[in-house]
């Protein structure tokens, strides 16, 4: 009995010591307040969720960082007011995570030279304003490998929100990856006309499955709708944006491509703490861990997993699928032999590669 009491006393003393020591320890560490604005909800299993996950990883890597967040921030002057409020609460680093937030963040960068801004997807530069994004197109090649191996009908379905160059590039790399392992694989594309018209995403998924597609993927804001619609019709699915959508399709989930912003956000926060921040236009992919292949679903056999992982490694080491000769789906040579398209050309696609069934314009 006495022994127990002694242990308890010792335990309490240790606890008290820890509590006493904690604030002192925290004061010794440099603490940084980070602001983040999201265009949607962070529970979307998609783009915004990926941003949130990156910031959580940053916070874990650098204990003592404080995070101020705002969801559903429109791409209007409203976003400037919200970021201004974050600065007043002490934010020294702000992540403006949607394309349309760029100008508003840039305005604030001019009036607040002591605050560092990082914008996702843009091009503007200032001493305290950098931008970053994932190099998605090449990485889609690995998804194509998974789809090409898993399809039985040799027909893949791709739901595209709006056929901008970047999205078409994703489709093209996907088809080329599929063909690299299955020369008969074709990709059918359906455009819904919006990034989040969910009822139409369901109808588009159904239409693709009706036309024979047995592996479905998408480039829309959130993969949740297409993944669930494919699952309900016993088709396979491949996700995009966040790697967390797999729980929505326990049977049909193959894999997915997600943004993993954590390492970049951690490095940026560390450079701000150390006072060494330098603006850059950062475009990184699988090789730099800004993108990652999602965990495989139960349906994917070991040999396919190996092939996909090998393809992802190859891309990570610099393999560029957009190396000529590449013919479009009308037979015109678009990238000549010996020529290759790098990251700066990814917005320029207005044609689909051979094997894609669809019109880009």
């Amino acid at each position: 009995m006495a022994r127990v009491r002694m242990l308890m006393t010792a335990g309490a003393a240790t606890l008290a010591a820890l509590i006493g020591a904690w604030p002192a320890a925290a004061q010794n560490k440099p603490s940084l307040t980070v602001g983040a604005i999201y265009v949607g909800s962070v529970n979307d299993y998609g783009y915004n969720r990926a941003m949130k996950d990156g910031l959580m990883e940053m916070q874990k890597n650098i204990p003592g960082t404080k995070l101020i967040e705002a969801e559903n921030v429109p791409e209007t002057a409203e976003s400037e007011r919200i970021m201004e409020g974050m600065i007043q609460q002490g934010a020294k680093l702000i992540f403006a995570t949607s394309f349309g937030h760029q100008q508003f963040a840039f305005n604030l960068a001019k009036t607040h030279p002591d605050v560092v801004f990082e914008h996702a997807g843009g091009w503007m530069q200032a001493p305290n304003f950098g931008n970053f994004f994932g190099a998605t197109q090449a990485a889609w090649y690995a998804m194509g490998v998974a789809a090409g191996k898993m399809t039985k009908s040799n027909t893949l379905g791709f739901v595209v929100g709006v056929p901008i160059g970047f999205a078409i590039g994703n489709v093209n790399a996907f088809e080329m990856g599929a063909r690299s392992v299955n020369p008969k694989a074709q990709t059918r594309v359906v455009v819904t006309g919006g990034w989040a018209d969910k009822p139409k995403e369901v109808a588009a998924t159904n239409a693709l499955i009706d036309q024979g597609a047995d592996v479905l993927t998408m480039h829309v804001d959130s993969p949740a709708t297409v993944v669930q619609a494919a699952e309900s019709r016993a088709a396979y699915s491949i996700g995009f944006q966040s790697i967390e959508a797999r729980q929505l399709a326990p049977k049909g989930w193959l894999t997915g491509l997600g943004f993993t912003w954590g390492p970049f956000m951690t490095a940026t926060a560390n450079s701000v703490i150390a006072g060494t921040f330098k603006p850059a236009m950062v475009r990184q992919g699988l090789g730099e861990a800004m993108m990652a292949v999602a965990p495989f679903g139960a349906a994917v056999p070991g040999d396919v997993r190996e092939l996909v992982t090998a393809a992802a490694d190859k891309i990570g080491k610099g393999f560029n699928p957009f190396t000529g000769p590449i013919t479009d789906n009308t037979g015109v040579i678009r990238i000549r032999d010996g020529e290759s398209w790098d990251g700066s050309k990814m917005g320029e696609f207005d044609w689909y590669v051979e094997g894609v069934i669809g019109k880009a314009r």
Binding site: V191, A203, Q211, S232, R233
Partner: protein, 307 residues
């Protein structure tokens, strides 16, 4: 057009036409009582958000539908109070209701973005639904309860409007409230009833999109379907039976353009996405020749009472 394409268009016209039909019927009954409700889009959004919220909280999609119907009715009765009780302008009040619906649904739906729900179950006709789970044939035979009840609802509404004393009174109010009043009817009470019922249907229309079709919530997910439903009321000449055809036609046009894209038709996807709207315009133009007295005569007018 091959059989797969036809079956695909048919099944997707039924799937996406269902929500439109409920929405159209909801608008139609209000307009029959003389009240234009441009806020239907907002009512549908509230239905979609409340439907998913209640389904996620209770785990029961049927309760989700009921909650959505009640929420739609409540929101439409606020509108009713503004335009009947306070005699506000119907068009302005309707547009305000739409924005109100956007806001309320965003607020209600926010915690449920990304919620995983069990959708409205598909019912199998005993002895028929033998096809494979993913097949087109199975899709033509497996429908949720709201799809099964959509056409009967339209027929019931037709019967109520054209074969009952209550419906006669309601239509009389839409044609001339003062005459109806003189005949011993109470125009305002009938209008409240019509809008309450319209709200129930509008809420169900939204809930079908979120709880049965997509199993997800996103802000503004109705994407203009409320306004298409308002146009379909005109197409249907304020007749619930014609509304069935209108909803199927529009749902089919959307299904057709997506099926054609999937089949690899040589048409720009931008043009494809315009097909349902071009069709709506075309139909409204063609309908012009037969305009005799389809619209309720007192539609949009404010009844200020009889001295």
């Amino acid at each position: 057009m091959n059989a797969t394409l036809l079956a695909g268009v048919l099944s997707s016209s039924i799937l996406s036409g269902t929500s439109l039909l409920y929405g159209t019927l909801g608008e139609l009954i209000g307009e029959r009582a003389g009240i234009v409700n441009l806020g239907l889009e907002g009512i549908m959004l509230i239905g979609a958000a409340v439907g998913i919220a209640a389904t996620a909280l209770t785990g029961n999609p049927y309760l989700g539908i009921v909650a959505a119907a009640l929420a739609g009715a409540a929101a439409n009765l606020i509108f009713a109070y503004v335009v009947i009780g306070c005699r506000a302008n119907q068009l302005a009040a309707g547009l305000s209701l739409m924005f109100f619906g956007f806001g309320v649904s965003a607020l209600v739906g926010r915690p449920f973005v990304g919620a995983v729900i069990a959708g409205l179950p598909r019912l199998r006709i005993p002895g028929l639904g033998g096809g494979s789970a993913g097949g087109v044939g199975a899709r033509l035979l497996e429908y949720d309860i709201l799809i099964c009840l959509a056409v009967p609802t339209a027929i019931l509404m037709w019967w109520l409007l054209f074969r009952t004393r209550w419906g006669l009174g309601l239509r009389a109010v839409g044609e001339s409230p003062s005459v109806a009043y003189a005949a011993g009817r109470r125009p305002e009470r009938l209008q409240y009833q019509a809008l309450g019922l319209g709200g129930v249907l509008g809420g169900i229309a939204g809930a079908h999109l979120s709880v049965a079709l997509t199993l997800t919530w996103a802000e503004g997910m109705t994407a203009g379907r409320g306004f298409i439903a308002i146009a379909l009321v005109i197409f249907a000449k304020w007749n619930p039976l014609w509304a069935i055809a209108g909803a199927l036609l529009f749902g089919g046009a959307e299904g057709l353009q997506l099926q054609l894209q999937a089949a690899g038709a040589d048409v720009s996807p931008f043009l494809m996405n315009m097909i349902p709207y071009l069709l709506t315009l075309l139909v409204l133009v063609l309908w012009r020749w037969n305009r005799q007295s389809a619209a309720p005569a007192a539609l949009g007018r404010t009844f200020v009472g009889v001295e």
